[in-house]
Each structure stands twice: as structure tokens, then as C-alpha cells.
Amino acid sequence: MDTTTVYKPGKGLTDRKLSYCPGCTHGIIHKLVGEVLEEKNLIDNAIGVASVGCSVMSYEFFNCDMHQAAHGRAPAVATGAKRVREDKTVFTYQGDGDLASIGLAEIVHAAHRGENITVIFVNNAIYGMTGGQMAPTTLIGQKTTTSPFGREKAQAGEPLRISELLATVPGATYLERVSVHDPKHVKKAKKAIEKAFEVQEKKQGFSLIEFISTCPVQWGIQPYEATRWAVDNMIPYFPLGVFKDARGGETDE
């Protein structure tokens, strides 16, 4: 019987089984990053930096040299790697607890210095790995194990919007927030990743793509409900779009 290959895993990811839960979008985001690195012929010369949280194991999944950084420190580790390996593609892969809380100084200053690195920032509004605690990105009213009555503004402030915050940093070159809740948005997200790595290839400086992501397990809902929850609740507060584009020259918009 003739067979036609309609899909095969790319070279951008290893063949290790992903450690992510059903309904979580880390898998899609990994696949997109892996595809872009493969299609741009960057994977053989890339250095990735895994963070702490659910994506801690990403050093086993991206098919390139990897560092495993301490919680929040991935942008500093990436800075060190990029400064001594300027011709390599250097990226971090970080969640919102890692990047928006404990690693806020590192991400702001990596952007501030205009480090020529790419940051993949996955925002699911909660600490997933540690058991569903409140993150800086947790929405008002959202119940977590450390905000059992729902996040209260008076007690915990309002959720931090990272892309908007970094847009005020002079050194940042390209910042975009995307979502992967349907095929149309997945395609758009891939385009954003391509742009981010192109910024780095052209030595134009710091690029970050923020992904609206899901955590059905810690949100306490079914996987099929999680995508809808993200669209209905997260995107209104964390709007999609380009927050900074200082690439100069021709742009493709």
C-alpha cells in the first residue's frame, strides 16, 4: 500500500516525550519554536536556556545545546552565552512565574542592554509546576492555591503586563503578544517567532514573544474549556499585538 507522509516531526525538537499536561499549550509553542529554528537553519548553531517551572525540562526537548538556568535567571545566562558566542542563536524559554516575578530584574535589564537574544515567554497566569499558586499575571478574581478567594487588587495588586512594561524600555527591539488558541492564531504566532529570530540574526537586539497559554490542571477546568477561558479572560486583559517594533528599515506589516 502506498503511503503518503502528511506529517513528520521536525529536527527542531528531540524525540523525547513532552512532559506537559493535556490541554496545555507548551507543546504547540515548543513545536513552533522548533520549526522556526529548523526552517531557518539555526538549530545546529543555537544555544537555548531553559528556566524553572513546567518548562524546566525544555532542555530535553529543544534539539540544540541547552543551559538549565536558576529560577528567573535565564536572561542573565543567555547574556553570558551570547556575549561569548556572538554568532550563535541564543534564546530563553520562560514561564510567567519565572520571568514576571523572580526574574523581573533579569528580563528588564537584558532588554535594557539590548541583548541580541530572543525570549519565548509563556504566560498562563499561574505557577503550574509548583502546584497552582498566584503569579504576578494571575487575573483579578482568579482562584489559585495562594489566592483561594480570588486575587484581590487591594492585597496583591493588578496583574503585570510584561510586553507593555518592556515596551517602555529603550533597549527592546521587537515585542509581540500572540495566542495559539486556534489555527489562525497559531500561524500568526509562528510568524512572530520568525520575526523575533530574524531580529537576532540581523543583530538588531532584544526580541520577546509573549504567548497566552493555558493551564487546565491548575485552573481546575477541563482541557477543552481552558482554551475558551484564555480567550474570554486573558486576552481582554492581555491584548494581542505588537507592542514595540524598532527594527527600522523595511517592516512587513
Binding site: N45, Q68, R73, A76, A78, G80, V84, V90, E106
Partner: protein
């Protein structure tokens, strides 16, 4: 090459360049600022990397990234800054990433002061970070020894794939002394690093991972046992010390770094008075030079530990002494640098008490 008169912090910086340092990451803190200042100019001139980080925490993690990607890397700081770097040092040790860390010690605890001290001995030798790990740690006494050891440290870090700590202090950092930067020292070219995450997985044919995470406890234990073998090798190979007038001594000082320098003057004065004192000067403080205590002459009855702290190294002296000799201690702390006369008085009081 002729000796040049240099300030300690600047001599340390130049020694790092001579030792093959490719990249420096640091954050300002007194009393070591002349070190990064010097490098901010001269690393660039030599086509090397200098980054002023946003914090000590970021700096040590930049060291992790650069060292893990195969470069010879340095960071420097002073006591409270080194405290902040401990997280990264634990990761560096756990992932076996070589690097050199210079601690120009000042008084503590907390913000403490900015004057010279030796009160980070425990932090340095016990590993201030989490986990079963050690860093090689050297405590030089004068600027020539400091530059020689810093030059060699990059080679040692590569050989053991381990962080090397230089326990200097504010006195060494701020003083001026003639130094010969070209004096031969065990400095080797950086070796090939087939383990490093250099971004060459295609060329290499496999991926390299710089990782300290082992979720299976058996794997983590195996990793620790492997590290322990390396630490045992360091204990065998890297105990360094100097014996000063111990051949006929009755009282033997144990002192390192600036305190040993002060003690030398006290030894001269006491010997002029006919009092037989000598000194064991640890140059490596981890591993602690146990070998120095093995063949002391029968004349020795007391070990007097001298520190610019209220007694930290004395715990190592107690461990190695095993009850053989009487132990005594003299220390000043908080940034107070003792005069040699204070040590002389201490010894005279000991003799008085014994009679």
C-alpha cells in the same frame, strides 16, 4: 619582566587577563571597584567581554552562561555581594562549569563595613549555596602571590571543571605593591571543552546540556558521588601551605592572607625576644592543608589561630588537631586590622598564663 607598582585590585584584574580570562561579569561594590573599572577598559582593548550586570545575582548567572558556553570567565565582588552570588555558585558547581570568583572581603554580617576582614571563611570553605559541593579556594598573602594564583586559577578551574574562589580582602585590594605579572605560573591555554554548550550541536553531532537537575534521586546521588570523587582529588592535589619557622617552634600560629602577613612581623619580634614561634600559613583554605599539621616537631605545644574574624578557620584547626596540641585564638573583626604588637602581647600573655 621588571616589577611594576600596582594597586591590588588593578593587579588582580591584569592577572585575570594574563590568565586567559575571556569575559568578566560583575556589579559594583566596595572595596573591589578598581578591579571591574580596570577591566572595563582593558578587556575591550584586548577584544574580550566586559559586562556590568544589574546585580550580583545576574552577574554570577552571566558567568554560568558564558562559562557553560566554553569561555574562561571571571567575576569579582566583596562579602555581601558574594553572599548574593551563592545561588549561582551552587549551580556552577553542580553543573561543573569552570570560573574564577574573587572575593575582596570586608566586614560583616549584613551590610557590615567596607574595611578588610576575613569573616567569610565559612561562606567560602563550606559552600554558601545549597547542596554537597566545594569550590577550590586560595587565600594569598601578598600581591605577587595573588596575581600568580589568579593567573593559575583559570587553568585549575578548567582542569577540575569547578569554580575557583580567591579569598582576598580589602587590604590586598587597596594596597600598592610591586608585582611581576610575567612571573611563571602554572598557566595553560584553555583546553578543548567537548562538554560545553557552544552552540555547535550540528558540527559536534550531539547536543550538550549544562544542567544541575536530576529528578531521580538515584541519578542525583550518582552525580554527587562523581562530584565527590573530584573533590577528593582536589584534597589530594591542591593542599597548599607555607611553613614558617616551625622547625623549633613551641607555639605555631595558623594564619592566612593579610593576617599571616601581620603575623610574620610578630614572629620576628617574638623571636628577637627568644620566644620560639612559627607559623603554618594555609594558602589553600579549601582544601584545608591538613598535611601541614602532620609532621610538626616535638617542640610544639600550642597552635594559635589568628584571624580577622572572631574564629572561623579555628574550626578546621580543631578538626585537624584531633586534641594533639593546646589551641588558642586571637582575632579582630569588623574591619579592624590588628597591629603585630597585639599578637606579640597575646603570645606574651599566653606564656604568662602558662607559668
Amino acid at each position: 619582566m621588571a616589577k611594576v607598582l600596582m594597586k591590588g585590585n588593578e593587579a588582580m584584574a591584569l592577572a585575570a587577563i594574563k590568565g586567559g580570562c575571556d569575559a568578566f561579569f560583575g556589579y559594583p561594590i566596595t572595596p573591589q571597584n578598581e578591579l571591574p573599572e580596570y577591566l572595563s577598559k582593558h578587556m575591550k582593548e584586548n577584544g574580550r567581554v566586559f559586562v556590568q550586570a544589574e546585580s550580583e545575582v545576574a552577574a554570577i548567572n552571566m558567568v554560568y552562561g558564558a562559562g557553560g558556553s566554553g569561555a574562561r570567565v571571571l567575576t569579582s565582588s566583596s562579602s555581601p555581594g558574594i553572599a548574593l552570588k551563592q545561588e549561582g555558585i551552587s549551580y556552577l558547581a553542580g553543573s561543573e562549569v569552570p570560573c574564577v570568583i574573587i572575593n575582596v572581603m570586608r566586614g560583616g554580617p549584613g551590610l557590615g563595613g567596607i574595611q578588610p576582614a576575613q569573616s567569610d571563611y565559612m561562606q567560602i570553605t563550606r559552600g554558601g549555596g545549597n547542596g554537597d559541593y566545594h569550590t577550590l579556594a586560595f587565600a594569598p598573602e601578598n600581591l605577587q602571590e595573588t596575581v600568580d594564583i589568579i593567573k593559575e586559577s583559570f587553568t585549575l578551574a578548567d582542569e577540575y571543571r569547578n569554580p575557583v574562589m580567591i579569598a582576598a580582602d580589602g587590604l590586598l585590594g587597596q594596597m600598592m605593591e610591586p608585582v611581576d605579572l610575567e612571573r611563571s605560573s602554572n598557566v595553560k591555554e584553555a583546553p578543548l571543552k567537548p562538554w560545553a554548550a557552544t552552540g555547535e550541536s550540528g558540527k559536534r553531532g550531539h547536543r550538550n546540556k549544562i544542567v544541575s537537575l536530576f529528578l531521580d534521586p538515584n541519578d542525583l546521588e550518582d552525580h554527587n558521588l562523581k562530584l565527590q570523587k573530584k573533590y577528593n582529588r582536589m584534597i589530594d592535589e591542591q593542599q597548599r601551605f607555607e611553613m614558617i619557622h616551625t622547625e623549633d617552634a613551641e607555639i605555631v600560629f595558623v594564619a592566612y592572607g593579610s593576617m599571616a602577613r601581620i603575623a610574620r612581623s610578630a614572629i620576628e619580634t617574638l623571636r628577637e625576644k627568644g620566644i620560639k614561634v612559627g607559623m603554618i600559613r594555609p594558602i589553600s583554605i579549601w582544601p584545608f592543608p591538613e598535611k601541614a599539621f602532620e609532621n610538626l616537631p616535638k617542640s610544639v605545644h600550642t597552635l594559635l589561630t589568628l584571624e580577622m574574624s572572631l574564629g572561623q578557620m579555628i574550626e578546621d584547626v580543631k578538626i585537624v588537631n584531633q586534641g594533639r596540641y593546646k589551641l588558642d585564638f586571637f582575632g579582630r573583626t569588623g574591619g579592624v586590622v590588628p597591629e603585630p604588637e597585639e599578637i606579640v602581647e597575646k603570645v606574651l600573655a599566653m606564656k604568662e598564663g602558662a607559668n
